[in-house]
Symmetry: C2
Subunit: 409 residues, 2 copies
């Protein structure tokens, strides 16, 4: 060995900031995350989080499924497994969608779908069309890859497709990201006619559509609509001709803590996604996939019915309370499903400032601005109705109404 005859070591800490990559510099902490930390006190009524109602979780059934899976598969339930995912689960999903298992990839939560689809499709400077407002988590996943966001106008029927048509004529785009059902954060749903037009326009202009659909099954009023992906299969002649990447998730229809989700798409995209996932986490936990596969037929349908009924009751109660307690000039969306609704205050009011008042009165929400990729929305806010009791909704909305009145005064 060479003798250790070296100068004294510099004990100053490394300059990590200087070491971070360009993609790391584009990362930032979620504004929501910081708010959630502040509002986690015991007495706070929080409409801020996006948590499914834990009291509805099928705890006993998950427990039984975990035991069944370990009995049936033995050590294989705890061993490495294929990147594509547990075949019985992929087959169940593909049969339900009328596609092939080769068009289905299991993911570690739909957040992983956003990250890896972003990685596969977004080159630095590529235009990505997003709703305004859009799901904040998608921006966080996409940001490292350096997209150029282009905001799409929307109204109560969702994305304004006439405006989109004009936009696509002026602007080349790589990807359109949308949550067509009960959108996070607005609760809005894209109408059937607009779904068709959106698909035609994007197909014509060669824009890939990433359809994020965590809430689609949670409709509590109105009629079910086909997903963009389902429509695209009919309009374009099957899964290999679809330009839609469908992101599904078990988080809202079973439980989120197992982190099980899936993608449906044309096989060239799935093939590349498998490669990206190999490098990202090898595979989704084997045990968790097997547990979910055990529950999709026997437990999930009734679970969805239960969740729909409870969320519907909570949403209706929250809307009624807002109509009773909020001053004139404050409007809200009227979601037909999902977990969220969106409140717009008179121009000039800042919901970040309002949050401080509201927290003093014991109620929390998420200010709307972080959901806009290109800024704006300072007079908007998001409320989640999924995990509050009716009594909490009453007290919380009354307190929020008081806070708004104060801010207006």
């Amino acid at each position: 060995m060479t003798a250790l005859n070296l100068p004294a070591l510099d004990r100053s800490a490394l300059d990590w900031d200087a070491a971070f990559s360009p993609q790391a510099r584009r990362l930032s902490s979620s504004a929501i995350r910081e708010i959630l930390k502040i509002t986690q006190s015991q007495d706070m009524i929080s409409f801020a989080g996006g948590l499914p109602a834990p009291e509805l979780f099928p705890l006993r059934e998950v427990r039984e499924a975990a035991n069944t899976v370990l009995d049936r598969y033995g050590p294989a339930a705890l061993q490495y497994s294929s990147t594509e995912g547990h075949l019985p689960l992929r087959e169940w999903l593909s049969a339900r969608a009328g596609i092939d298992a080769a068009n289905v990839q299991i993911m570690t939560g739909s957040q992983q779908t956003l990250d890896l689809v972003g990685k596969l499709l977004i080159g630095e400077g590529d235009a990505v069309l997003v709703e305004a407002p859009t799901y904040l988590g998608a921006l966080q996943s996409f940001n490292p890859y350096g997209p150029k966001y282009v905001q799409m106008a929307a109204d109560d029927e969702g994305i304004d497709v006439d405006a989109l048509e004009g936009l696509l004529e002026r602007q080349r785009a790589k990807l359109l990201y949308a949550v067509p059902n009960f959108q996070n954060p607005t609760g809005r749903t894209l109408s059937l006619e607009r779904r068709r037009r959106l698909l035609e326009l994007t197909a014509r202009h060669g824009v890939i559509v990433l359809e994020d659909d965590p809430y689609g099954a949670l409709r509590f009023s109105g009629e079910a609509l086909p997903s963009l992906y389902e429509l695209s299969l009919k309009m374009f002649g099957g899964p290999e001709h679809s330009h839609v990447i469908y992101s599904g998730s078990f988080s809202k229809v079973l439980v989120p803590g197992l982190r099980d989700a899936w993608v449906q798409a044309a096989s060239p995209l799935i093939g590349k996604l498998v490669q990206a996932k190999q490098g990202a986490d090898l595979h989704t936990p084997t045990f968790n996939q097997m547990i979910v596969a055990e529950l999709v037929e026997t437990v999930m349908p009734a679970q969805i019915e239960r969740v729909r009924a409870v969320y519907g009751e909570r949403a209706r109660h929250m809307m009624a309370q807002m109509d009773a307690h909020f001053p004139a000039g404050v409007t809200h969306t009227s979601p037909q499903g999902g977990m969220f609704l969106w409140v717009t205050l008179p121009q000039g009011l800042d919901t970040a400032a309002l949050l401080k008042r509201a927290v003093e009165r014991g109620v929390a929400f998420v200010p709307g601005a972080p959901f806009f990729a290109l800024g704006g929305g300072h007079n908007t806010l998001r409320l989640s109705f999924s995990s509050a009791t009716l009594e909490q909704i009453e007290r919380g909305i009354a307190a929020l109404g008081q806070s708004i009145r104060e801010a207006l005064a």
Copy 2:
């Protein structure tokens, strides 16, 4: 609504290849993965995979832990949880390492660590120092970020630090990636003196070290060595002064199918890693983290002892069989732990061609070339001794010896 008066849709499939991002183009399928598919027939004796021995999995204990966790935590075991990870698990890890929980982040398998550390540190064209050969999965994780690989020479004591010193004087580098204990694929271990020098050299040149240590606890002969991370804490004065990012994993010391791993590093790196992980999968599955936390004290120590004993027996048997059956001019490493060893054939022999012969004789391995970031190694191969029985090792090594003799003839 605007009438749907649009030209007939083009039903030709989208050109996905043209749509993929620069980072997606740098992805490729694992050579090993394709080989594993070929060799999954019933009768094949496979030394190709890197699978922990499933017959040693603590199946009953995992089952009990799963039930305990659901009883104790209820719905919280299945709910969303913090990106940083389950606090009791982070605290257990940090206490063991003598650092703060703020220096520990839970990951979804150590493959995620490779991906996200790559994302945070590798800008396009940044020099990344890797062993030759190195862990293939690291190359797959790093590749999308566009590194410029620089290979470090190595011998039976691991990385040649004299050569490294010269290299660092000529070549600015961002990151050094190494598996110091029982390396995948060679089974080699970096000596203590070289560990110190490697740390001094990299500190002096401002090169961050990513220490990948999935096998460190699986030593079956020789004396335990401190990890680079442990040494760095002593040499540089604590976790905030370390330039080592330590990647640990529960896959080889408990079970791999839960996908639970962790990182220890200075808090600025952890802080950025939390942001990257939020965008990558929100958090590691809650249930799985709680199960692992339940097992680390009560089950893991005995599990490690059991695995060490069995792998040691298998490794010694494989080495004895090779010494008996392999022709002169074929050499192998002599690992003191882990799951792998490395065989070098005479120059000119191609192990990809040898694999075809060997598979005909009912035995499989992984050719060595894919483990070299910059090519070469065509006369090398990797054998895994972790999941074969002694009898399979006898038959398999005899058959492989025959195949090598044939190829030499």
